[in-house]
């Protein structure tokens, strides 16, 4: 099995892939990016929170025009994972408004997005119909 690297540092690979967030110790606000401080309360202490791998689709769009190398059309959306909002593509579904519906239950899915010159495989994530 080739070495793997997650597409982003908040995707944890392994037997049970999941997303993690920086959680403000003072107010509980969650962030996926590197933080300087909390945008909600100004706190500077953060813990790590594991994000639920199942959720519901709160909104979506089906994008027809994209940067080179991105297959189109693709479905982009926001998933409500037990109260934490996550930005992701909706995958393993036909990219049509008939197949993708507001409120549909979805679950985390990972997939390879290509190997680099040293053979390391990058792994991305999306959400698929549950």
């Amino acid at each position: 099995m080739p070495a793997q690297i997650p597409l982003v540092d908040y995707l944890v690979l392994g037997d049970r892939p999941h997303l993690v967030a920086h959680e403000c110790s003072a107010c509980g606000a969650r962030y996926f990016d590197r933080r300087n401080a909390c945008a909600s309360c100004g706190g500077t202490t953060f813990g790590t929170a594991e994000i639920a791998t199942e959720g519901t689709l709160r909104t979506f769009t089906i994008v027809t025009f994209a940067a080179p190398g991105i297959p189109t059309p693709y479905v982009a959306g926001v998933v409500d994972c037990a109260g934490t909002s996550v930005r992701a593509n909706i995958v393993n579904v036909e990219p049509t408004p008939e197949a993708v519906t507001l409120g549909m239950p979805v679950r985390l899915a990972t997939f390879p997005i290509g190997a680099d010159s040293e053979g390391t495989e990058a792994v991305g994530f999306g959400f698929e119909p549950a």
Partner: protein
Amino acid sequence: MSDEVWILGITMTKFGKHPDKDSVDLAAEAALGALADAGVGIDRMGILAAGNLLGGGHLGQSLQKQIGQTGIPVYNVANACATGATALRTAIMAVKAGEADYGLAVGVEKLAGAGLLAGGSRKDDGSTWTPSGRYGAVAAVDGRIGTEIMPGVFAQVGMEYLSAHPYSGNDFELFARISEKNHAHSTLNPLAAYTKRMTLEEIMNDVMIAYPNTRPMCSANCDGAAAAVVVSGSVLKTLSQEQQRRAVKVSASVLTTDPWQEACQILPDVNTLTRNAAAQAYEAAGVGPADLDLVELHDCFATAELVHYDNLMLCEPGGAVDFFESGATWRDGSTPVNVSGGLQSKGHPIAATGIANVWEVCHHLRGEAGDRQIEGAKVGLAHVIGLGSACGVHILEKAA
């Protein structure tokens, strides 16, 4: 009256393609037009606020070198699609603070032929995976982890509204009908970039950019400029009867940014800051949504217009779809919205937009809007959103 601020002169250029003019030409045309409309010269201006998002941030001084180097302070401002409103508000604040009797605000953009406006984090994929940036990403995330293209972001904004307030009809057709309205309105606006009426079928069958937004449901990239001269209430009293009659009162000038909300760093929250700006503006002006005779709001995409009916409190909370379907926002409805044609049809030269929408409202309040005049208009509201986010709201009232 001394802390009141009035618009004394205001103008916009034709929006569209201006291949023979550069940004300074367009800004000068608008600024000289606003000064002529005001009946005062550049020598009276105590401050110049200039907005030009894509031009490098020195428009003000370049403009002065064409129309008057009078040595006054220049503020080159940038606030995404709220840049024009920010320039106008900067001039208003200077007058309100007593630092200037008169202020000039200008916004211009050369955008004809520009492609889709993306958010930013696109980068070339490297030859070996190396994490970088705030997400430790090894490859560009736009298109792999959701979308950053504007038509896609605002598509989600509209669909999120239908998620929170379920709609039993056809989503796509609903949003296309909003676009149909604005394209119909622009047929009466000779300064609009597009003045051709489009049928619902034409709009829905056009190129899909990001469902449910087809190309005519997206703001039209074009060139254009707009400018305004503002004056203090006490100085206005010393001017001619005609100048006082045509002056438009700035009853509220508000700028907000997006306060933290749970999902706001996942999908931009264009709602809360608009609601906050609207609430502050109604409070400052002492008017309510029911008093508005017309509204120019930031329909950068058809999906955005729907949510701003609710955000600007033009309808009951959650009632934007019913409000639209009642016909209220057509030019013969109870709250005409975007009678100029809006960004989808009038066009959206970014930094000009936040002054051009104020011009549209002033045009009606002065009774000078010709074929598209909203009869008896006394109060209007102009709204813009710059993603990131900034929201500008101005409430304008006809001189008593």
